[in-house]
């Protein structure tokens, strides 16, 4: 059985020493946030994650969710765990106090979210989708909708879903065909089929609040003719309690590679006269509302990358310390040793560890910027932080999830033959991680957003500011003189930044005149930015650690962090040159063939 314990020390370090928890705590509305409070929250969340959710992860994978005549039964223990989760208040952590939420900063909520996702990703998807629905209604709903749905969703009594995809409309939401017909009473009747609806049906709560993209009659073609509707599973009685069954039904669930315990539903709307819904916000602005939420959802999926990487690392580390095989390399006839003694196993573990820490650092720094973007009293500071968040969300999403597949696969490799046996549990992390680069926008969709809206459209202002900030670390590294680790870190980071700059120049010069040529390099560009940003934060982490040691700290954590940062510089950052080369030179070869030549 795979155990999980939240990496609280690293979480604290990143929050306090890289992401500026103290600064976040000074923001309006965060006055009650203190290091002690945060520690207490992390401890409680860790207890729930490791004690309740982690043990259900493997059984959930084995049992899966089951469909039977339109009903979905979640895996054994799921319903009880969800009840405990809601009762403990975890669904309300980051929500608005106005509707029963605790209003904690995103930075803190992010660390907690990492725990849910690491301990049991399939479970975590239910509150994650509910958060999205809460946000949609909070931002764009009517007062009636807010009053009817928000308190129930914030408390976890009801869950929420996001209904975007249809068979012909995946990445291309312009192709949505679901129809909404206005009724005399101001409601709408919804007709159509939605697929890939996470927790679209389940047995854990007595209502489910579906947010559904659909077209009004005579709506414009394409993305500007899509509206957003709330369609509850059970219509509400006058007193707000669930009443008549609405005409939305789960006609099947998917048999998937991973996240077996998370029901992925096909939902039929209106097969028996029309599902009754109400409009959210204005007509034809549904996609716009969705995109506001999408940033949150994309960030959350990026956290799945971080979380699954952490889980896979812990799993592999435990095995590597336990499994005895062979003797110490270079020692003939010596005693048998655990495989963590073998250099390649160590390389694999360090690779998992260093990348996971870099991804966590980046995600939490973005979360803190998100807090500033929402709460700072100074509009200029808000705007600057928002621009940074907008730039980095596709990176947190795309880079962390792409890495998580490799990292989970490396975890399997550490286990050798046992990794391929499902009983071991290592393979589940690989299977679960494989969805993360696909849903909430594939890596290509993220990369497209990154080079287009987030870089080229604004002439690279934000990314250049970020690069300048990264460059600011180089002299601090140089100040450490001949310290071997800092020399190595400085050298790789400097090369990495230069590689990133070359790629940025290429994108800025090319995007407007040859969008296809720029786009061939978009995914390599996204990975490049992730790798270099991760290297920048790992360098900052090493500098802070060195400072703490100089101040007299004997915490082993700081020594370890410097080593991990150096490993990242020697093993991960050097990929920056290759990616940059490909961004700058890779278009011609990729685009030369006709379809028939493939």
């Amino acid at each position: 059985m795979s155990q999980y314990t939240a990496p609280i020390r690293d979480m604290q370090f990143v929050m306090r020493e890289l992401a500026g928890l103290d600064e976040v705590a000074k923001l309006p509305g965060c006055e009650e946030v203190s290091a002690d409070l945060v520690d207490a929250i992390l401890d409680e969340a860790n207890k729930f994650a490791s004690g309740v959710l982690a043990p259900l992860n493997r059984t959930g994978d084995q049992e899966g969710a089951r469909w039977d005549k339109g009903e979905v039964r979640t895996a054994p223990g799921w319903k009880e765990a969800y009840k405990q989760f809601a009762e403990a208040g975890w669904t309300a952590l980051a929500c608005e106090p106005e509707f029963g939420g605790q209003g904690l900063p995103k930075l803190v909520a992010t660390a907690v979210m990492e725990m849910w996702k690491a301990s049991n990703m399939a479970f975590s998807l239910c509150p994650m989708l509910t958060s999205g629905a809460i946000e949609a209604v909070t931002l764009s709903g009517t007062d009636e909708q807010k009053a009817a749905y928000l308190p129930k969703m914030v408390s976890g009594e009801w869950t929420g879903t996001m209904n975007l995809t249809e068979p012909q409309a995946g990445s291309d939401l312009a192709a949505v065909r679901t129809r909404a017909e206005p009724q005399p009473d101001g409601t709408y009747r919804i007709f159509g089929q939605k697929i890939f609806i996470t927790y679209g049906e389940h047995d854990m709560t007595d209502n489910i609040v579906h947010l559904v993209l659909a077209r009004l009659p005579d709506a414009p073609e394409g993305v500007k003719g899509i509206s957003l509707f709330v369609v509850p599973k059970f219509l509400l009685n006058a007193d707000g309690t669930p009443g008549a069954r609405n005409d939305v039904h789960c006609v099947s669930i998917e048999h998937k590679l991973g996240i077996h315990a998370s029901p992925t539903c096909v939902l039929a709307f209106g097969d028996h006269g029309g599902a009754i819904g109400t409009l959210v916000g204005e007509e034809n602005r549904g996609l716009e509302y969705m995109f506001i939420m999408m940033n949150e959802a994309r960030f959350a999926v990026g956290m799945e990358g971080v979380a699954l990487s952490e889980r896979a690392y812990q799993h592999a580390l435990a095995y590597a310390k336990d499994r005895v095989q062979g003797t110490e390399m270079g020692v003939r006839g010596g005693p048998k040793v655990s495989i963590i003694h073998h250099p390649d196993v160590r390389r694999m573990l360090m690779s998992m560890k260093s990348q996971t820490e870099a991804m966590r650092a980046l995600a939490y720094v973005v979360a803190a910027a998100n807090d500033a973007a929402h709460r700072d009293p100074d509009a200029a500071v808000r705007a600057e932080n928002q621009a940074f968040v907008d730039l980095m969300i596709p990176v947190v999403k795309g880079w962390s999830t792409e890495n998580s597949i490799d990292i989970a696969s490396t975890g399997v490799q550490v286990h050798g033959g046992m990794g391929f046996i499902e009983e071991t549990g290592a393979a589940q992390h690989l299977r679960d991680s494989r969805i993360t680069t696909i849903y909430e926008g594939t890596t290509a969709i993220q990369a497209n957003d990154l080079i287009g809206r987030k870089t080229a459209r604004e002439g690279g202002v934000t990314i250049k500011a970020l690069i300048a900030e990264m460059r600011g670390v180089l002299p601090l590294l140089a100040e450490r003189g001949s310290d071997e680790s800092f020399v190595a870190i400085g050298k790789s980071l400097e090369s990495g930044i230069a590689a990133l700059e070359a790629a940025v120049e290429y994108v800025l010069a090319t995007y407007g005149k040859d969008i296809k040529a720029a786009s061939v390099g978009s995914v390599p560009f996204l990975k490049l930015l992730g790798i270099v940003a991760g290297g920048w934060l790992m360098a900052r982490a090493a500098l802070v650690s060195s400072q703490r040691i100089a101040e007299g700290s004997s915490d082993e954590f700081y020594k370890t962090k410097i080593v991990t940062s150096r490993f990242y510089a020697d093993h991960v950052l050097p990929q920056a040159q290759a990616l940059s080369y490909t961004v700058v030179n890779g278009a011609a070869g990729a685009l030369a063939l006709d379809e028939a030549q493939f």
Copy 2:
């Protein structure tokens, strides 16, 4: 349903224009091999692979092999397909004519093997393991053993297995504990448990020939005290037919991530008095015999990497041509297009295609060298070829299989959300490929062999000769003048070779004095050698293609090959620098932490 058609044109190209089929056909014993014969064999094999084996691949995955009270039932259709396979003579293709084989060169057998593995990897494992057993008995068996077992295994009437692993003895075979007790009649009684035995039990043939590593009483400790035994499932009657049931029983099969239709067995030897076996070769030399065979088996698993990559590519390509989503990039309001029009999908497909072709080229070139190493009349030529084969087997195995995981994963990505749904079949390739970097020696075991026995021990003689040969291509590329593709190929290949040279120098300088430091870089070194060797062969392929075009060929294949080679140079070869940097600089960071600091 995923289709498969063997990439016969590329196979022919590689065999004839890169691997020297004409030269192979001149070797003693290969006189009957002609281009026409080879084409006829490829055609027949393709019919069997695409018509019989490929359709069983998905059902085999779904149904799997089933264990019931010691018996294993293979998936529906398996038994019939195996019978056809044997009757058509496919089991005998590369075997010695003396025992009923057709004695075809390894180069031809390799192309055919690729088809079995691509069409149905789980099925292909049965004849692959049987080949290993045939080779063991051929090389080291007694005349009685040869007469009793070889004709039956060559004809496919019986299958063979390799019994190495035990729970405590995975990569570390020195830890084998299975015992063999000599009997007065010259036979041995075997006692012990073996795990991970591929096709250790099944219902397709009326006997199974187990080759088993075990220790004699008073055998020396470690690897020099292991002997090899033949232990048939059914003991043979005086007339050679299967008689009494032997005391070897399948006590369970594993529930695995992939290759579900290939039963992975736990075999108990001697629970009821002892399994009767006979000694192969001399006492205590079992591991040595195994290692001779291991080269073949490792090469075959390398071919699984090539084959699964090809299958995943075909699968993704078909989807990309069929799936309509979005409009042509840069064209607003245009018609919807198939996703192969999108630059990132194209990048993914080209990445799959170019790497698969590079891996195929390397594997076939090694196969041809293997033919020369076995058959050339000149001992010096044999030795030179054998050294090249020995150097490259770990690369064919490690590099192709590591790539196949990424390539299969990219195949899933091309499918978007559908890739995560098992029904689509794309995920199966990822699941199946995940074992290939583990069995027959993990990538670390291959890499260890590569930097130690194959490089450092001989002072780098063979690898330096290979590098010189690679360098020989650079002036030929330069002769193409300002042709953009050849400039790009030449530039990347030259940098790649330089990166490889730096890494070779590091390994040679470090291995003897700090084996751990050298070993940290062993897997990056293996990948580096694979990438650069692949780049060298893709450059040769581009040169040949350019020559054919200059000679007047209008075959689109040649134009496509130049583009694919260029893509490889721009997208794959640049990784060489990063890997080289890590080999040379990566040890300190990887080895610095104490176990407790993890």
